[in-house]
Each structure stands twice: as structure tokens, then as C-alpha cells.
């Protein structure tokens, strides 16, 4: 085969010196120095908007720096387009995959490349090469499989294979773990280690501090477009990194005072529901949440969490069982009725279900009560009342927006989540369903959201927290239910919970069975 073997190629040293990138009115990168060498994993850490994406876009030729230079193997280089970057051996794994679902893995990998056999496709040689790369880096995936058939973790492997197939020797991975299960994260890290062993240089971007500490050789922290410092992973700790990112002390584990538990506010009994694919997504779920407690639902993504949240919110019909809010049967009630009974919901798909992108922050904040007095009278909106209410919420919930009239789509992910939180908590709900409330949200906002959820617990709200982040569950929950294939495997008190037992239940082994440990 005419292609050069990636593994045999010399590694690639990258040095970015004094990079400045200005946008009208702001400096996104302010004299940033960053370098990464062959065989090394260098993490780029920072809050949303710290300038990580800008720096990566400069590296990938999507932005042209206003000042500074890029040195590849010691030679000053200009990168004008992603094509230049690819030719230099730079690969980028984006957070949102750029794959065509209706094509096979091999077709996706070769998409946009010249075929070695002129106008004819040569998928056999492509598949062969994919298999070689798979074997070298532990990236198991069937070249003939269609992308739509693959799990999220497998799709990510295809993205990495695409980059390796294009002979990338320097790979930037933009929040690659955000979409993965703990097991998949471990597999990804194994792949990353074998890549550095083969001489690749890796840039890793993540918010999750324990992951950063686990996988990195060096860590560079950006804040407000400036390089705050580069330290070796051995010198780092979660607290130190969080402090560097935010610029102040951060409380990673919030305080949780004991709260008197009240009566059952949310009851789910024998509920069955279909998933989007038409299979049974919930298979007889029973849950009770009491006022003043946080019941967390743990589980690997796709085991019925979304269906559970949606049947409570009234967005998905049940096929059996009942849902009751504050003692009232709402199994067949519409979402508006459930809200009137005191339900609030922080949806998992916040841009789809939680916010109207093209509406202003104020309109989004009013979405659930714009037609209720005092905000509306005789069918007309009362802008003075709305404005006063929104100003208060924006202040109370620390939503960073230039003004209440700014479109929601101009806000960062963390601020959109704060905006949704402000709306959902402003009614002081009796029942709160929080689905993945901090997914993809930066540390500062996560800390804030956790504090707010705990405040709400003290205020007597019954909270159902659905999360795939075990750290979050352990930090917030009073009781933990584990969901697996649409069934609750068991509910344990936080005080008695041990991670091993929860992990077993997440893999489908029931609480009772958990007492006899399976052979390792």
C-alpha cells in the first residue's frame, strides 16, 4: 500500500507563541503560549469562553491569529485552512461528530479523500487499513458497519480513525469524554496512551478535573483568554486546577445540612412507556420522592432516564402505571396542568426542550408564566412587570447576559442552564425533575447549580435528580436509585451507598444479587 505508516513517522512538535486573536471589542486569545511535543498529552483547561476553542481554531486554520506564530518542529508555519492543518498532520476530534449516519465506517473514513484507484472507490483497502489502525490503537470498530448503528463511543472511535487515517500525528480532542460512559472513558484513555506510545502528540480538552489529572502529562489553564500557567500533572490537584480556572477558591463538595423529610410529593408507580425507537423504554418503574429530599437516578446513558423524565414532565405518554404530583393523579394531564400543580423540570436537552434560541433571555424566563398575572392582563403582556421580574431573576441567578433583550443563543451553555434554572426555580416548585443539570457546564456554573439544588432541598422541594455523573450523585443525593434497561435495580440510602454496589446495579445486577459478589 502506498500510504506511509503513521506509526513509523516522526512525531510532531508544536509550539504556539504569543497568539493573539481579537474579535470586535474583545481579545479572545491574549498572547497565549502553548506547546505540545511528541509522545505527550497536554491538557487545555479552562471555563467556557476562556479561549480554548479559539486557540484550537487558530491551530486548525479556521481563524487567523492577529499576532504570534505557530512553529511546527521548530519551523514557523502558517495554517490558512483545515486542509493545511491536515496536511501538516494535525487532526481535530470535535465534540459534535462530523459523520454521515447513512454511510459505513469505511465510507466515512475515506470521505473527501482521493481514492488510490482513481475514480473508483477502493473500500477494501480502506477497510484493511482501518483494521490495522484499530488493532494498533485498540479502536475496535467494524469498517462495514453503518454509522447509525454505532453507539456514541463507537462513533467517536470512527472520528479518531478518520484523523489517524489522514496521518494525523497531532490530535486535539475537544471534550471527548463528555458523551462517554465511565467504561468508554477508560477505553478512550487506553487508546490515547497507546497513541502517545506510538509518538503522537495529543491535546486534550476537558472540564472533568479527575479525568484531566488521570490522563495528562502537562496541564495548561486558560482564563479570560490568557495563559494562567502550565503545570505538570504530578504538581496538580483538583482544588489547585479549579482555583486556576476560576480565579478564586471553589467548593467542589458542597455542604449538605440534614433536612426534615416531608410527605410524598412525586409518585411514580408501575410506569411503562415506549422509547423513541418504539421499544419498551420503561418497564414498570416505581419511585417515591418526598419533600426535602433529593432522589438521584444513576445509570448508564440510555437506560430509560430520558423516558422517565419525560413521563413525569408530561412530554411522553405512559402505556401503564400512574404518575402523581402532590397526591394528584397526573398520568394523563398535559405539561401545563402539571406545572400548575407545582412541577418544574430542567430538561436534559436544554437547547431543544429548555430554551427558545431565538427568543430573548427575558422571553425565555417568562416562557412558563407569560400569560399569568401580573405578567399579562386581558391577553396583553405587561412589559414593566416582566422586565422587573426578569431583572430580579437575572441578578438572583447570576445569569451573565448583556441585557434581558439579548437572544438566548448568544449565551454560553452554563448561562443558558442558569437561565433555565432561574425560570424553573422562580415558582418555588413542589417537585423538581433535574435531568443532567450540569452536563457540559463549566465548574463555576456547576458549583452554582449544585448549591441551588441543595437550597431547594432545604426549601422542601422534592427533587428527582437524573445524572450520569456519579460524583454529582454522591455529592447531592439523599437516596440513590439505579436504573437499568427501564427498570429500577434498587434504591439505597446515600449513607449506606458504596460505589461498587451501585456499579453492579448499573450493569444490571439487582441489589439482592449484589450480595453474592460475582467472580472477577
Amino acid at each position: 500500500m502506498p500510504r506511509p505508516e503513521t506509526a513509523d513517522r516522526a512525531g510532531l512538535d508544536l509550539e504556539m507563541r504569543g497568539i493573539v486573536k481579537r474579535f470586535p471589542g474583545v481579545v479572545a486569545n491574549d498572547h497565549v503560549d502553548f506547546d505540545v511535543h511528541e509522545g505527550e498529552i497536554h491538557t487545555l483547561l479552562g471555563e467556557n469562553g476562556a479561549g480554548k476553542s479559539t486557540l484550537m481554531k487558530v491551530l486548525y486554520g479556521l481563524y487567523h491569529p492577529d499576532e504570534g506564530e505557530i512553529l511546527i518542529n521548530g519551523h514557523p508555519t502558517t495554517i490558512d485552512s483545515p486542509r493545511d492543518a491536515i496536511n501538516l498532520g494535525i487532526g481535530m476530534i470535535h465534540q459534535h461528530f462530523m459523520l454521515v449516519p447513512t454511510l459505513t465506517v469505511a465510507e466515512n473514513v475515506t470521505l473527501g479523500l482521493r481514492s488510490p484507484r482513481g475514480p473508483l472507490l477502493d473500500l477494501d483497502s480502506v477497510s484493511e487499513r482501518i483494521e490495522e489502525l484499530s488493532a494498533t490503537y485498540g479502536l475496535q470498530v467494524d469498517p462495514g458497519a453503518y454509522v447509525w448503528q454505532l453507539s456514541v463511543g463507537e462513533q467517536q472511535r470512527v472520528e479518531i480513525l478518520k484523523a489517524l487515517y489522514r496521518n494525523a500525528t497531532l490530535l486535539a480532542l475537544d471534550e471527548p469524554t463528555a458523551v462517554l460512559t465511565p467504561q468508554e472513558v477508560n477505553e478512550l484513555f487506553a487508546t490515547m496512551r497507546s497513541m502517545t506510545a506510538e509518538g503522537h502528540a495529543l491535546i486534550f480538552i476537558s472540564h472533568k478535573l479527575h479525568e484531566v489529572l488521570e490522563i495528562s502529562d502537562r496541564i495548561t489553564v486558560l482564563r479570560s483568554g490568557r495563559n494562567v500557567g502550565t503545570i505538570r500533572a504530578e504538581e496538580a490537584s483538583r482544588e489547585r486546577l479549579a482555583r486556576m480556572m476560576v480565579g478564586r477558591e471553589v467548593i467542589l463538595e458542597p455542604e449538605k445540612p440534614p433536612v426534615e423529610v416531608d410527605g410524598v410529593r412525586l409518585m411514580v408507580k408501575g410506569v411503562r412507556a415506549l422509547s423513541n425507537r418504539g421499544t419498551e423504554g420503561l418497564r414498570g418503574v416505581d419511585l417515591d420522592v418526598r419533600g426535602g429530599e433529593i432522589l438521584a437516578v444513576a445509570g448508564v446513558s440510555g437506560n430509560g432516564q430520558r423516558e422517565l423524565a419525560e413521563i413525569i414532565a408530561g412530554l411522553r405518554p405512559t402505556t401503564a402505571g400512574t404518575v402523581a404530583i402532590d397526591g394528584v393523579d397526573v398520568t394523563h394531564a398535559d405539561p401545563g396542568r402539571r406545572r400548575d400543580l407545582g412541577l418544574s423540570y430542567i430538561p436534559e436537552e436544554r437547547m431543544r426542550d429548555g430554551a427558545v434560541r431565538d427568543f430573548s433571555v427575558a422571553e425565555n424566563l417568562m416562557l412558563h408564566q407569560f400569560d399569568k398575572p401580573p405578567y399579562a392582563r386581558h391577553g396583553f403582556l405587561d412589559f414593566a412587570e416582566i422586565r422587573a421580574h426578569c431583572d430580579l431573576l437575572i441578578r438572583q441567578f447570576d445569569v451573565k447576559t448583556p441585557n434581558p433583550e439579548a437572544p438566548a443563543k448568544t449565551l454560553s451553555g452554563g448561562n443558558i442552564q442558569k437561565m433555565i434554572l432561574a425560570r424553573e426555580l422562580s415558582t418555588n416548585p413542589k417537585v423538581l425533575v433535574a435531568a443532567q443539570p450540569t452536563r457540559g457546564v463549566d465548574i463555576g456554573a456547576t458549583e452554582y447549580i449544585h448549591r441551588r439544588l441543595l437550597d431547594q432541598r432545604e426549601a422542601g422541594t422534592a427533587t428527582l435528580l437524573i445524572s450520569e455523573d456519579l460524583d454529582e450523585i454522591l455529592a447531592l443525593a439523599d437516596r440513590i436509585a439505579v436504573i437499568y434497561e427501564g427498570e429500577i435495580m434498587g434504591v439505597v440510602d446515600r449513607a449506606d451507598a458504596n460505589i461498587e454496589q451501585i456499579g453492579l446495579m448499573m450493569a444490571g445486577i439487582r441489589e439482592e444479587a449484589g450480595s453474592t459478589p460475582p467472580a472477577a
Partner: protein, 370 residues
Amino acid sequence: MRRWAGAVFPVAAVVAALLVGGVTLALLGADPLEGFRAMIEGAFGSGRALADTTSKAVPLLLVGVGITIAFRANVINIGGEGQIILGALFATIFALAVPDLPAGLMIPALLIAGFVGGAIWGAIPGALKAYFNVNEILSTIMLNIVAVQLMNYLLRGPLIDPAEIEAGTRIPQTMRLAPSGDLPVLLEGTRLNLGAVIAVLFAIAAYVFLWRTTAGFRIRAVGLNPHASRYAGIKVKRSIVAALTLSGALCGLAGVILVFGSESHRFVTDGSSTGFTGNAGFNGIVAALFGGLHPIGTIPASFLFGALLVGANKLQRVVQVPAALVVALNGLVVVFVVSSAIWKRRLEQRYLLEDSAKELVDQPAEVDDG
């Protein structure tokens, strides 16, 4: 530039369309400059020309505002033609049934009748879309055909002017309708009538409705994100039906004005599908797009489009080009306006990127201070 981008793009689109039209004129052996001079004169050259342009713009404005309301709910109403016809039929039948009302009651009653007729013709596809997931583009187009056939049947049969039967000419038209229903002429000796005022008032009302009322808020929220709206407790299906109903109602008003603001004061058609409407149901869509899908923006947009239609007639007479060229010219404007919308969106996206980049970097700086 940024603030004016919304206005620059449609105007540039018209200029581009006229340039292509000019080339076509030259290829046909006519002098493009002379042609354009004729157009401008025909549309704006005299008080009468301006009045003609305005009259032509009135149905476009009402339809355009109606289309805007539907579009804001993310429903595409191609049924303006049918809704105009139904509005006209309801008002005409009312005027034939109760001819003795005084003008002060007659005109409001006619407007209400037309409003209801159009509303019904909008509510049908609205309900089909909301409750049975029937594509509204298909159902509204189909209902146009039904409306045309209904109109042709009624104007040739039950509603036909008895004089036509006597004379044996059988032109599909009603008798001269009750004079109390005549829309008062605003400018003596021209066709400019009360319809222009009504149309502008409804455009303003639509603006107030969309941005100041709870029902308008619902429609905009549903149009931009039905998922989030539903989850926030808004009844999405009801809002979709409401938007298409109102959209049809405004088109129905256009039908009333086409009949009772006409010089013949009859409901007349020629047997072809656009014989009565003069294509206003489709041209109104272009006016709405041209006006940035904003009720107020649709006012100048309809006027400009009205000018184009009136001017093109003059052009045809002066430079002696085939009538088809005028139709082609209109088509060109549509193509350019629609494609300019794409450019506009791209520009807006670029601004948005810049804004969010700015906002993103601004943010941690504030955290720093804290």
C-alpha cells in the same frame, strides 16, 4: 451596515432582478433604459399612478401580513388564493342576502364576513396539520383548487348576475352589489379607497398582536421551538390552528377589498384560477418575505411590489414586449428575494458568531473581578 442589513438585502435583490430583466429586454431588442423609465413612470409618475400602485399593494399587504403570522408559527401558508376567494364569497353572499344595510353597518359586516370566510379556509389546514400531521403546504394548495372551483360554480350558477343570463353572455360575475358596501374612494378620480387604510391598520394590529399579546407570544414561541413551548405548558396544537386561522382571516379581508373596492363593484372572475385574485395570494407571500416576515416591514414591501406590478404593465405597453416578460420579471424578483434571504441569514450568523465570541470572552473577566 449591520442595522440596515435587513433592508439592504431585499432592495439589492430587486435591483439585481431588474438588471437581469434589463438584459432580457435588450435581448428582445428593446431599450432597457426606456423600459425602466416607463416602469418608474407607470408606478410613481403621477398621482394616479401612485394611487394605482397603492391599490395594487393593498391585497398584497393583507395577504403578506397573514402569511407573516403563519410563518411566525413556523407554518407555511400557500393557501392565500383560496382564503381570498372564500373571504370574497362570504362577504358577497352577505351583501346579496342583506342588501339594505346602511354603509356604517354594511362595511364592518362585510369585513367580518370576509374575515370569517378566510378564517375557515385557514382553520381547515391548521387543524389538519396540528391534529393529523398533514403537511400544510400540500393542504393549503389543494384548498386553493377547491376554492377556485367553488367560486367558478357559484359565479356561473347561483350567484350569477341575472342580466348575464338574459343576455346569454354568461360572464361569471355577480350583479352590481349593494352600493352601501362600496369602499369609499379616498382620492377622487382614482381607485384608491378605504381598503388602503384598513390594510395598514391591520398590519399595525398584527404587529401589536404578535409582540404585545399572550396569544402572539404563544405563536412565536411555538414557531421557534415547539418542544420547549410544549414543555413550558403552551398548547402547541391550538397555537398552530390559531396562527393559520388568523392568517386565512387576513387573506379573507383582502378578498373583501378586491370585490368591494373594485371599480365594477361586482365579484368578477374570468374562469381561470387567478382570474379574480390576480395572483395576490402568491404575490403576498413574496411581499411578506420581502418585508422580513414582519407586519410593519410588509407595508413598504407590498408598496414596492405593487409598484413593480403596476410599472411592469406600463413597461409592456411602452416598449411593446410580450406580456410573458412581465410575468418573468416578477418571477425573477421572487427568485432573487428568496435567495437574498439566505445571504441575509448567513450574515446574521456571522454577526451572531462575533457576538457570542465577544460575550464568551467577556464573561470570565467578570468572574475574575468577583
